[in-house]
Structure formats: C-alpha cells, structure tokens
C-alpha cells in the first residue's frame, strides 16, 4: 500500500501527457473539419497546412484546438473518448440486453479468452511434461533443451498465418484450434524453464532423506519434487498466461478473422474507426490484468495452504 500514492501519481502523469498530446496530434484533422464547416482557418488550405508545423497551427488557430478533443475519427482519441467507447460496447449493451451482439466487446473478449485459456492449458501441460522428461532423462535434456531455447527466438508470428492455413486445409473448422496452438507455442517455454528449475530445486540432502525412507522414484516425485516446484510453477504461469494472450491476439490478426479482440483491431483498422481499435486494445489490457491478478491470488492462497511463504 506504501506504493499506492506513487503509482497513482505516475498514472495521473500518463493521463495528463496523453491529454496534452491529443491537441498536436489531432490539430490537422480538426482544422480540416473546421474549414469544411465554413470557418476561416490560418493558413487557409489543407495543402498549405501540411507544410506548417503543428505548433504554429495551434498558435494561429487557438480557438479551434478544442475541436480536436471531440473528433469522430481522431488520430489520437482522448482517454475519455476511449472510456466512452468501452462503455458503449460493453456496459451499455448489457443494459440494453444485447450483451452478446456482434459489436459487443464482451463477446469478442470471451472468444479471445476461450482460445487463450485452451492455449494456456495446452502449453502448460506440454511445458510440465517437457520439464519432467528433461529432469529425468539426460538424452531428452541434451537434445530438447537447445531447441526449446531456439524455438523462442523464432518469431512465431511469422508462422501464425501458416498455422491457420494449414489447419483450415486439414479440415479443422473455425479458428479456435490454430489460435490455441499459437498461444500454446508462446506459453509453454516459460512453464518449461520454470518447472525444470522447480523440479530440480530440492536439495541433495532432501532427496537422500527420501532414499533412506526407501521411497520409490514416483513417491519422491509426488511428495518432494512436485510440491517443491509449485512456487516456480506459479511464477511461470503468470508469464505464460500473458504470453498466451499475446499469441491469441496475434493469431486473430492475419486477414480473414471476424471474431475476437485481434479481429476487432483489424476491422477497426480496415474501416478507419480508431476508437474501435483503442477500445479493443484496452479490453485486451483489462483481460491481461484480470488473468494475471487471478493467478497471483490463487498463488497466494495455494502457497499459504501448503505452508510456504508466498
């Protein structure tokens, strides 16, 4: 709580800078609009204005600068406009009983969330299995580990359109599966690395103690290695879920997608409605925040129940 005031200050500063930036960013569009509505602008034509710097435009037409704060298609919307658009596409739709209409961000957020979660589960299972194989078998460690590292330096987004085309040609309906594969690809690596560390975290003395109890390999795995790896697992899960969300949104970006937050961004770009892009971006940010917070809370709860310092 000690850092609440600093955080609020920084947030306030960001919003203030944003508000100030709106004026120079939008002044050209605003003046074009004012000119069309018949008012005199200095310099008079849009071509002449292009050669003038935004600061001079703002000084010469100070009475028109405020128009830039209420444009329908701004280059940079104000935080208030983004908030209004968010409310219009979520809360207001719920109030009107159309929470799942095609324009509602709740629907698109839900579609993105579904793919993210299935990719997250797939990636986590793969990561944990890979970690167990790596910890227990030297040959897998030697042959798999370098490729696991290299796989993360390959930009998956290059593969994303390929995965979508491949799966549609193999007869997979819809985009759910390819999106989940992309997000699983991004999310398995942090889990793998974290679990390898976690499974190897018990000290030799602890492993030896279990041997004196004549514990079998499975028993020492279930009773010592697995519990010891839980804190590591949660730390990597938090990274993994954020990566999975990025993967899903990237999977929704290549042309042709119609549903999901990434598709809303794409459609907003094609139809020239920046407010829709910003609203979708903020929904994605809120989604990421909720997912990470949820994992953080469950980490605290579970670690406390297990008697570990969280």
């Amino acid at each position: 709580m000690r850092s609440l005031l600093p955080i609020l200050t920084v947030l306030g500063a960001i919003v203030a800078i944003w508000y100030f930036a709106v004026a120079p960013m939008n002044v050209r569009v605003a003046l074009d609009q004012v000119e069309r509505s018949g008012a005199t602008v200095e310099p008079a034509t849009s071509v002449e204005r292009r050669a003038t710097s935004v600061w001079r435009l703002m000084r010469n037409n100070s009475e028109h600068v405020s128009v830039g704060y209420a444009l329908e298609r701004p280059r940079l919307p104000t935080p208030t406009q983004v908030g209004q658009e968010l409310w219009k596409t979520t809360g207001e739709m719920v109030l009107r009983g159309r929470a799942l209409s095609k324009r509602s961000l709740i629907l698109h957020g839900w579609i993105t969330l579904k793919s993210t979660l299935s990719g997250f589960v797939l990636g986590t299972v793969l990561g944990i299995l890979g970690a167990v194989a790596i910890v227990y078998s030297r040959v897998t460690r030697m042959s798999l580990m370098p490729w696991a590292i290299i796989s993360q330096t390959i930009p998956i987004v290059a593969l994303a359109p390929m995965i979508i085309v491949l799966s549609s040609q193999l007869g997979v309906e819809g985009r759910g599966l390819p999106k989940a594969i992309i997000s699983a690809y991004l999310c398995y690596f942090p889990v793998l690395v974290g679990m390898v560390k976690g499974l190897q975290s018990p000290a030799i003395a602890q492993l030896d103690l279990l041997r004196t109890y004549s514990a079998s390999g499975l028993q020492s795995f279930l009773k010592l290695r697995l519990p010891a790896s839980v804190p590591y697992l949660f730390t990597s899960l938090k990274i993994g879920i954020a990566a999975a969300l990025v993967g899903t949104i990237v999977g929704e970006l290549p042309t042709g997608a119609v549903s999901g937050l990434g598709a809303r961004i794409l459609i907003g770009d094609q139809f020239g409605t920046p407010l829709a892009i910003w609203a979708a971006l903020f929904t994605a940010a809120i989604l990421a925040g909720l997912l990470v917070t949820f994992l953080d809370l469950s980490q605290r709860l579970i670690l406390r129940r297990m008697g570990m310092p969280s």
Partner: protein
C-alpha cells in the same frame, strides 16, 4: 510408403545414437553437447521429408524441406531485400532506439525513489500486455515504410528494458554504496563504476527479451500495410497466393535472424558479465 519407413527408421536410429552418446562417458564434452541436439533436429527434418513424400502431401499444404531449401537458394535476392527491410531497418533501428531511450529513462527515474516505486508496478503490468495490437495505430501515424515498424518495436521493447534496468540499478546494497562514499565517489562515479556494472546482468536479461520481441513487432506491423517488400508482407501475400515454399523459406530466414540476433546479444552478455555466477564455469 518406403519413404516414410526409411525416415522413421532414421529417426529411431538417430535417437538410439543420442541415447548411447548421452550415456557414454563423453556426454560432458563439447562435441557431444553439440552433436546431440543437431542430430535430433536433423532427424526431425528427415521425418518431415519422409512424411511429405510418403503420404504424398500436396506442396500447397506442406512443402518438403528439400523443396524449401531449393526455393531458398533460388530466391536469395528477394529474401535479402525482405531481410534488410524488416530486420535491419525495422527491427534493429527500433530495438536500438527503444532500448537506448528505456536506458536513459531508467537512469532518470532511478534518481527519485518515489517515481521508481510508482513506475515499477506499472512497467511490469505494461510489459505483460499484448502491445502488438498497437501496430495498426502506429502504422497509420508513421506511414507504411519501415519507420512505423521501428515505432512498433520501440513501444514493445521499451517497458521490458525499462523495468529490468531499474531493477538492476537497485541491485547494489548499502554496504557497497557506503564503500564508494568513503572513496569520496560522486553520483556519476558510483553510477559508472559500481551500479551500472552491477545492473548489467539485469540489463542483458531485458535486452534478450527485447531481441525476441523486436522481430515479432516488426513482422506483425507489416500485416497492417507495408511497401511491397518485407518479411511480413511476403508471408501474408505468399499465404494468399499459395506460394507456400517461399513462405517457409521466409520463416527460415526469420528463424535464422531471430536466433542470430539472440545469440549475438547472449555472446555480448558473456563478454561483458563474465564475472557473474551464471556465466562462470562455462568455458
């Protein structure tokens, strides 16, 4: 089917060799450490080739590695043009600008404990956000050429780099700073001789994360409009026009560029932070 059989046998044989190598007493030598993953990767390629030939998979769905290699060799000029456009102009310039400005910002913020406390949680949060989505906005601000790609990369690498640098700058403990104080070292001397070297492992962590993000940003931004060259452009049009072999060649270039970029940063890290425990003991 014979192709498939041969490929499967080769893969199993390679695995058997790997098992033998890993169990032999040479398993800790450098050569074996290199051979085992190479053999594994190579056997996967053979398996892919065998699958494509054995099951007669159409090259429109999945071309064989040999076809991709041929396309790669035949279209090096196109690939080079795309490489300069996306990697050298878009990703690298954005990476340099983003990391440098994050570094400067971190040093500025670090002077105020209040700002550090406020910015670290926000920076950590922003670093977890799907920032790639900002690409269409930046493309509409900065135009279709590489400047907009560099801008996307700047935004993507800024926060991971900032957070890591700020954390690294807090790494020194009171005792070490007191020692510098007894030497009558000022702020700048303490910064350059003690705190920046101590922050290096963290900064390189940030630089490595940023290296993988930079390529992602540059390629995704090209999906939203680019001149008629660039890796993202070639991939999205190649998928549309079914020249899948060229797309795979492009993916191969992306993989090479990504691994090479990351490897270069890791090599510099090893040279700069040779004193750090994680780097010692590796000949």
């Amino acid at each position: 089917m014979t192709w498939l059989g041969i490929a499967l046998i080769f893969w199993l044989a390679a695995w058997a060799v790997n098992v033998a190598l890993a169990r032999s007493r040479y398993h800790d030598t450098r050569l074996v450490r290199l051979v085992v993953p190479l053999l594994f990767g190579g056997s996967l390629l053979v398996l892919w080739e065998g699958l494509v030939r054995g099951l007669n998979i159409s090259p429109v769905i999945l071309p064989a590695p040999s076809v991709v290699a041929q396309t790669f060799a035949n279209s090096t000029d196109i690939l080079w043009v795309d490489f300069t456009q996306t990697v050298l102009k878009g990703a690298l310039s954005g990476y340099a600008i983003g990391c440098l400005s994050a570094f400067i910002a971190a040093i500025a913020i670090d002077r105020s404990a209040f700002l550090t406390r406020g910015l670290l949680p926000i920076g950590n949060f922003v670093a977890a956000l799907p920032i790639v989505g900002i690409a269409p906005i930046l493309v509409s601000w900065f135009g279709f050429d590489w400047q907009s790609k560099a801008a996307v990369v700047v935004v993507m690498v800024f926060f991971p780099m900032l957070v890591n640098t700020v954390q690294g700058l807090r790494e020194t403990d009171q005792m070490q700073r007191d020692l510098m104080h007894t030497y009558a070292a000022g702020y700048v001397t303490t910064l350059t001789k003690l705190r920046l070297p101590a922050a290096m492992p963290f900064m390189f962590n940030g630089l490595k994360i940023a290296a993988t993000l930079a390529l992602i940003g540059a390629i995704v931004a090209e999906y939203f409009g680019s001149p008629t060259r660039g890796m993202g452009f070639r991939i999205s049009t190649g998928v549309g026009s079914l020249s899948i072999d060229l797309v795979w060649a492009e993916i191969f270039v992306a993989a090479l560029a990504g691994s090479g970029f990351y490897g270069a940063v890791a090599l510099i890290e090893r040279a700069v932070t040779f004193w750090h425990p994680s780097q010692r003991g590796r000949a």
